[in-house]
Amino acid sequence: MTQGSGEIIRTADGMPLGLSLQRTLLRSRLRALMLVIPLLAFLTVTFVLPILDMLYRSVDNRIVASVLPQTTVAIQAWDSKSTELPDEPVFEALVLDIQAAHEQKTLGRVGRRLNYEKPGMSSLFRKTGRHAKRITEAPFKEQLLSVDKRWHDTSVWRLIHRESGALTGSYFLASSDLRLDDQGEIALQPEPRRIYVSLFYRTLWMSLLITVLCLILGYPISYLLASLPARTSNLLMILVLLPFWTSLLVRTTSWIALLQTQGVLNDLLVFIGLIPDDARLQMIYNKIGTIVAMTHILLPFMILPLYSVMKTIPASYMQAARSLGASPFTAFVRVYMPNTVPGIGAGCILVFILAIGYYITPALVGGRTGTFISNFIAVHISETLNWGLAAALGVILLALVLVLYLVYDKIVGVNNMKLG
């Protein structure tokens, strides 16, 4: 801020002008910051921190070490590669831990946690908890082995050994259809249990398809809205907004009434003789149902940004192109369309990001082939209570969206986007 040549300009109190300006600017920035501090604090407490806490659960593994503190220490002395069972001190530590945990009612947690990795652990810990209080003196090993034969299985001990750290990668492995096998090597899940990779893939391509469909359907409507005289276009706009304001559940259920095999559309097709009565089309509870219902529900999110951008394109552009000899098609493609790119970008991003996390519509009309990854996140949050796995799936979904956003930025440019 200083002058290139000559002496430094100073303010009345002798301070260099540049410094003074900087201070003033800083002060006004601070004032601005003060104004948004309540909002920032609110967002941090109610939004950022809970999300970070939830994301941390995808690697959090404190449960084993906190419920079985002595065992997790003692078992470090055991060679997890060996085919021998651990020695007496480890058994003693486990028995004492289980007795304490049974007393404090925390044993169920560790059983459930380990059961995610190995079926049967839940009942093993529950059963051992009931019997462990009878074991009061050495030899702990023999007595514990007699409680349940599964304690003879070294893979159980390897599992405890493996999951005794404070962090775990097993949720992320599970959400990529991988697992750690008994030797601790990363392996594919057995074929009948692989679901998440194909679900992510399905969520992605169906969301993309829904976005494209919204664009194809929304573009002409927006064009119509933007080019018609205000009276007609306002009326049409209401037709766009009415469903937008209608409850999501109502719209989803209406699609069920329309598309089901005994529904309106099938009845109509049978009535006009296009299909026989015994071969009604299955248009809902599958991918078609999800795609149709979600395209309809998300369409306004495409139309509104497109419309607001198209509204700003002066009609004279097209007239100028025509007067310079372009055919209507060329004028549209070379002049009008490039001007709508910011609206296309905004609409596509909006629809795609909403679609990829959509939950209730796929749950209701998706049947067995049209559900999304979000439906499984919901199952793990509210039914199986496996929040670690739900968090890992959520992190992967978030990462996928971010990667796609960056790709989009590279190709189209985010600054090009216009939301209205």
Binding site: L107, R112, P192, I195, T384
Partner: protein, 409 residues
């Protein structure tokens, strides 16, 4: 458990709110006084008035001294609880106000969130037994001593013996107070088949004799058991067979035979709707929902009770509720013999006490005898699948994945 002094603090909470409203009106009058510019007198007035308002609040506080937030499933089910438990309890205890919260479907997840964050706003939660086992395992809900918490039967039988055997301790846990026995069973459209009507579980898995779509719950639970029974496994050996990989394969192979014919439901309201719409001809559903479709809405649906899967629904109490004594008092009332029998006037779920069964009477509005519609009725429970919670706790994660992978193929 709350220490007594802590309980006292919490007890005062609703009264404090009354004081706050009192204080607000005081401040208004105080600002009017400002004109007189007598600060100390003004202060004195304020304190006097506050004290007066406080004692007023203490007296008036009896109006709603205690709020109990009770979480249940909404719809007809909550309505039956309102009429059988909440309304009579509030009539007897004018100081208690019961607030219904219909988030039963998220009960487990929200109880965990509340207990982990130390901000428990729910007092009593209605849960199915399997969820109660999970919550109890995780240490999220209070343990219950039935003979202290619950009223004995009218003849003096202690609660621990009056409730059906094992229902107070599902899966070896002791946090659950059962209210009802419900069953997941089948309904079929009476106009769908000529001649013989479906009557056994094997008929459900026989699309040749009984053509048409079926609706099944989108979960491995019950479906795997039924598939095995339909495939000829005796009912009491189902879980033994399912514990082997070959048994699981066999169950899925049986489900394969009708896979193309199945619409999968996830909400309890769906299967009666699918039946009513004619979208499916046979559907698994909760028996109370089927009853309401048949008896209250006169749909052409009939029950198929063969191998109905018994399950329990009941109360749990999150750890760290504000007023455990108030919760206990309500619980003792709402789970006594008469109250459980009363609920059956409004919905066709069986009361979980032996002593309630003879008291089950007629539907409160329709006037029909409820006994033949109960899953526990002798005509209906000839074959019953006793749901094995402990087994499912072990295998749920694995079979859920396998089931969903199977569905997606």
């Amino acid at each position: 458990m709350l220490s007594p002094d802590k309980t006292a603090v919490y007890n005062d909470y609703p009264k404090c709110r009354a004081v706050i409203t009192g204080c607000q009106s005081l401040q208004v009058s105080a600002s009017d006084d400002k004109e007189s510019a007598k600060g100390d007198i003004h202060m004195k007035h304020l304190i006097q008035a506050a004290a007066a308002a406080f004692s007023m609040a203490l007296l008036a506080g009896n109006g709603h001294a205690i709020d109990l937030t009770i979480v249940s499933w909404g719809g007809a089910y909550t309505a039956s609880q309102q009429k059988a438990y909440h309304d009579p309890y509030m009539a007897e205890n004018p100081g208690v106000r019961i607030i219904n919260d219909d988030s039963g479907a998220e009960g487990l997840a929200k109880v965990r969130a509340q207990v982990e964050s130390g901000n428990v706003t729910w007092d009593i939660v209605d849960m199915v037994a399997a969820d109660a086992i999970t919550a109890c395992d995780e240490g999220l809900i209070e343990e219950i001593d039935p003979d202290i918490w619950l009223a004995p039967a009218p003849d003096g039988t202690p609660a621990s013996e009056d409730f059906f055997a094992g229902t107070l301790t599902p899966g070896g846990t002791n946090c659950f107070i059962p209210q009802i026995v419900y069953s997941t069973t089948f309904g079929y459209r009476t106009d769908a088949f000529q001649g013989r009507q479906p009557s056994t579980i094997a008929d459900v898995f026989d699309p040749e004799t009984f053509p048409g779509k079926r609706a099944l719950q989108k979960a491995p639970i019950n479906n795997l058991e039924w598939a095995l029974i339909a495939d000829g496994v005796p009912g009491d050996e189902v879980y033994e067979v399912l514990s082997t990989p070959e048994g699981v394969d066999r169950a899925f192979a049986k489900l394969d035979t009708i896979k193309d014919q199945v619409i999968w439901w996830s909400e309890g309201a769906q299967p009666p709707q699918l039946l009513a719409d004619g979208e499916v001809v046979i559907a698994s559903a909760y028996n109370g929902r089927l009853f309401s479709a048949i008896a209250e809405k006169n749909q052409p649906i009939a029950m198929l009770w063969d191998w109905q899967a018994f399950d329990l629904d009941g109360w749990v109490v999150p750890k760290g509720v504000k007023d455990l004594e108030a919760v206990k008092a309500y619980m003792r009332f709402a789970t006594d013999t008469q109250r459980l029998a009363d609920q059956a006037k409004y919905i066709s779920y069986g009361p979980a006490r032996h002593s309630s069964a003879p008291l089950v009477g007629k539907h409160a509005e329709l006037g029909i005898d409820m006994k033949p519609h109960m899953p526990t009725d002798a005509k209906n429970n000839k074959t019953v699948l006793q749901f094995d919670y402990v087994w499912w706790a072990d295998y749920r994660a694995e079979l859920d994945e396998r089931f969903n992978a199977w569905l997606a193929k």
